[in-house]
Point group: C2
Chain length 198, copies 2
Amino acid sequence: MTNSRGRPRTFNEEKVLKAAEQVFWKKGFSDTSLDDLVGAMGINRPSIYRAFGSKEDIYRRLLQNFADKMEAVFIETMGSDGNIRDRLIAFYQNALTVYSGGGIAKGCMVMSTAVTVAPCNSAIQEDLMAIIQFVDEKLAEQFQIAIDSGHISATPNGKSRGMLAQSLLHSLSLRARAGQSPSQLQPLIETGVALLTS
Amino acid sequence: MTNSRGRPRTFNEEKVLKAAEQVFWKKGFSDTSLDDLVGAMGINRPSIYRAFGSKEDIYRRLLQNFADKMEAVFIETMGSDGNIRDRLIAFYQNALTVYSGGGIAKGCMVMSTAVTVAPCNSAIQEDLMAIIQFVDEKLAEQFQIAIDSGHISATPNGKSRGMLAQSLLHSLSLRARAGQSPSQLQPLIETGVALLTS
DNA sequence: CTATATATGTACCAGTTCGCATAATAATAG
DNA sequence: CTATTATTATGCGAACTGGTACATATATAG
């Protein structure tokens, strides 16, 4: 029994999901209508449902998808072997490029859009919480390594530094979406990293 | 010509605005319907329109209203004459009480709800930007005083410290709305303030 | 070929959205 | 009292909401 029976799809799954992401990213969950998705994805309503489920299903999938992409950025920048200061700066700068990309003020897709719905949608709230905790852990790991190898002081500890490092990320996202330019935010990255690695 | 001609209002303006705030705070701008407001405020649609204008008018008014209330918290805590460390901790703790109040994960009303709409509504985006910049300035002021009086080092400068201090606020709001408890966030406040005042 | 499985397109559902037109109500001014 | 002014209540309507039924199209399996 092959999986390719029936009429073949006319759309590329990756492409239409990317299109849907753009809409959710800009308009948020509540303000995105199925008609918006139909327009952006270029496929009809019943096809969307058949392929991806409900609006909420698509959105939650894209949340995880975005988090995965940011994790890739994290691994790419923080995984190298320079000192933690330079690696952190590279990470924040790449994140900021994502947040401010395309000339539109966007911020982080997760932090900017899931927040609002969270109190009314426990599934999305849990997704958001899980992503925040994951980022905390990943950052804490890196600080712990730097502490263990004597590059930075043992206080604040790795976990605290991780949470504070994510705070900077939260603020970059929020400020970018409010319309602050990358050049305005660059000093925030630099002084933030300086404090975080002191 | 007196102002009290005609049929008198049956509602208390402050009270119904407070009720509206609760709805917007929980559901965000887009997901709050006029029927929601009618239900919460206890007055009919045409009365709402006559008294406060459109849904967007009410929301923007409440944004500023909330910012004013937080400024009052700021003045109350940061205006005293203890050392900057203790005053900052008091400020963050009071803010966190607001963010986590009433058993529901709420976060900051401005940061949690205006973010999402910002890219689609330039007026709200500008409101958000103005509030962020105002908070930056108020915080920077306090750090500058502490620097000038020799209580903390001159680098990072007051402006940078102000922006970083607001980052912590952003993260507290986001984390509270994601469901993290005040006790989980207390260490973030403490280590954050320690770094900010080092 | 026929049977089956998947995808698509039209058209529609019931419920909700915002905003308003209209009329009734309740106060004051003279 | 009547005229004026302001607020409140009923309820409309046209557009939009997320979601689906049904018929049609296009592939593979045998």
